[in-house]
Amino acid sequence: MRQLLLLRRSLISVRFSSYSVSPQATISHDEPNSPALAENVDITIAGGGLVGSAMALAFASSPVFKNHKIVLLESQSKLPQVSKNKPYSNRVFALNAQSISLFEKLGAWDLMKSIQSVIAFDQGHQSENNSLAYIVENDVIQSCLLERLKQFHVEPRLNSKVKHFEYEENSIRIKLQDEKINLRTRLLIAADGYQSSIREMARISTMQWDYNQFGIVATLQLADNMPDNVVAWQRFLPTGPIACLPLSNTHSSLVWTVPKSMHKEIMKLSDEQFVDAINKAFTSDTYKHNGVISITERIRSYWQQVIPASPTVLQYPPVIINVEPRSRAAFPLTLLNANQYVRPRLVLIGDSAHRIHPMAGQGVNMGFCDVLCLFNILEQAVRDGADFSSLIYLVDYERQRQLQCLTRLLSIDSLNRLYSTNFSPVVALRSIGLSFVNEFSPLKKFFEKQAASST
């Protein structure tokens, strides 16, 4: 109920938001110690993560922005580097077709493929050329984007966290921590993650709630050399979904959503006990409802008389034998949506604007879609001769993205709720519903298309 009220309130601000400059953010012009010394730049991107780097690369690689000075700020002291022989990191992403085409446009995709043989996974009987997704490690994406940025002479400025920013007449003045030289920028793009300090400073309200769940990630070693390890597995347990994403013939990546109460004991398990727990979660029958299964089978036999049965290839979940040392980690899950994605001269992209449950692997893809959308809109603004930080264009970005992101956030949220219950009628309905979607190919294609694109 509280969440519905939060949603209603945030929708109202979405609809009627005013973009006036917050009074606390203005400076008084008779403040004596605002130094005139500042570096003038055009676009500042705060946050050198995946989405921030992709945004910087989009500007750097475009001929339309060749006369614009781009600065990428990163608060950490180093960014991940990767090489062919290092073990897999525990954070991987399933990139959808649109993210791949963005990387191809930025010229970074070939670089990523050369470092890691990326696995394309798709449905067993899908004959189209477009795969559903590619599994790529976080570190690989990050370092390839930075490598490509280096080719355009843009280096991220490390140890540069934004301490404070103020509005000036035609720009934003950014004060960095450690008393570094101030920046005066025309446009500030915040890509600093879901706990975005820039969003806090701008006092942008958010709609958020805690899922009371933790996501546990790890890198797993599979039983045999499985040449057809190209299928991503997800099983919906009442405690939360467990997913296994293929990395190579021998390794897969785990994303296991567990309730807050359970996560500590799972993290405390020894490696062997952990592997046992995972295998049990994949195969155990304790979660199955016999009653539901018989109903599902009966209903399936009814409509198979109407809808031609597509040949379902039976596949078995992978068997895990080992977990890579020190690859186990847990992080809390929340849903977040900023009520405003833009302010005058300020844009939120990626997780600073929206955060989603990892169940559908959509989070970073939505961030890359933000990058593409904002880039296209700003490119249009420059071609129209407008001041590219003009609010008219930024509001176009907000309108497009907020609608798509909010619907996606809420639909995944509903799916999470649907699968979090053990109540038999609900279980029956969802099992029937899911197998219906599986059988009925137009509907299945619709969902595949939704997952493959972020628009």
Binding site: S18, V21, T26, E168, E169
Partner: protein, 273 residues
């Protein structure tokens, strides 16, 4: 609600105006500081994208591509992608605070903005981006006075009079004067309101009194020009109308779009023979 909020905001000016840091002023230093203060206030009013002139700002999304495409097509040289209007001489009549003039200058055109109100010219000059100093100029002069200057005759590749002719008494002479200043085959761009029932109810009653998008009394319905009349006047002055399209404004999302219907707003492009 954003409109009502804006109404409320007007009563509290310090919420809206972004205060100034020392900035290189591109106006004559003989202007006194009190006047400069006033121009700053006016400038922040003209150039506030969520303020009283918000519809004019969003109209740029329609009229800049319209002007750019027509000018780029009519010239055969290969253009720089960032400055497609380079080496073109443009004249913006009734430029106001420079909302349309600045983007065109940014696209490379050498443009002169003229307005009968001196404060508008000072506002425009105050706001002008210093990097555009070479090709962006403003002058406080009327069209008739400009025509008397021999150097201006047949000087311009294009003349733009956007949201202007609905304030002009004698449109025939206006177009004749434009013709004097245009090179042969030069283009004239007009955007204005039609004189229909729809434009009365929506363009005046709704816009000025109910939604308060423009101050009441801005427009006089009798001065609106029908497209057919305008085309006749153009042809009488030896022009050939190239493009004639309706525009529609959605006040809720503050966006313009091209429309089949010319009932309320329309845009016209005519070429001098």
């Amino acid at each position: 609600m954003s409109i009502l909020y804006r109404h409320f905001i007007r009563l509290i000016p310090q919420f809206r105006s972004i205060t100034l840091l020392s900035r290189q002023l591109y106006i004559k230093s003989s202007v006194d500081p009190g006047e400069i203060n006033r121009f700053r206030q006016l400038s922040s009013s003209w150039w506030n994208e969520t303020g009283a002139y918000t519809a004019l700002h969003s109209l740029n999304q329609l009229r800049i591509p319209f002007i750019r495409e027509q000018l780029v097509q009519s010239s055969s040289k290969i253009k720089d992608i960032l400055k497609p209007l380079k080496d073109l001489q443009l004249l913006d009549i009734g430029c106001g605070g420079g909302i349309l003039t600045e983007p065109l200058a940014r696209l490379g055109a050498s443009i002169l903005g003229i307005d009968a109100v001196s404060e508008n010219i000072y506002t425009a000059e105050y706001h002008a981006d210093p990097s555009l100093k070479e090709n962006l100029n403003y002058k406080h002069v009327t069209l008739e006075e400009l025509c008397e200057n021999v150097e201006q005759i047949e000087k311009y590749d294009a003349v733009i009079a956007s949201e202007v002719i609905e304030h002009i008494n004698d449109v025939d002479t206006f177009i004749a004067n434009i013709s004097k200043l245009l090179k042969p085959k030069g283009l004239c761009f007009i955007t204005t309101l039609n004189q229909t029932m729809a434009s009365y109810f929506l363009g005046i009653i709704a816009a000025e009194y109910i939604l308060r998008m423009v101050p009441p009394g801005t427009h006089t319905w009798n001065k609106f020009v029908r497209p057919s009349d305008l085309i006749t006047l153009f042809e009488k002055n030896d022009f050939n109308v190239v493009l004639n399209n309706g525009m529609f404004y959605n006040p809720i999302i503050n966006r313009w779009s091209w429309s089949e219907s010319q009932a309320i707003n329309y845009a016209l492009c005519a070429a001098k023979n």
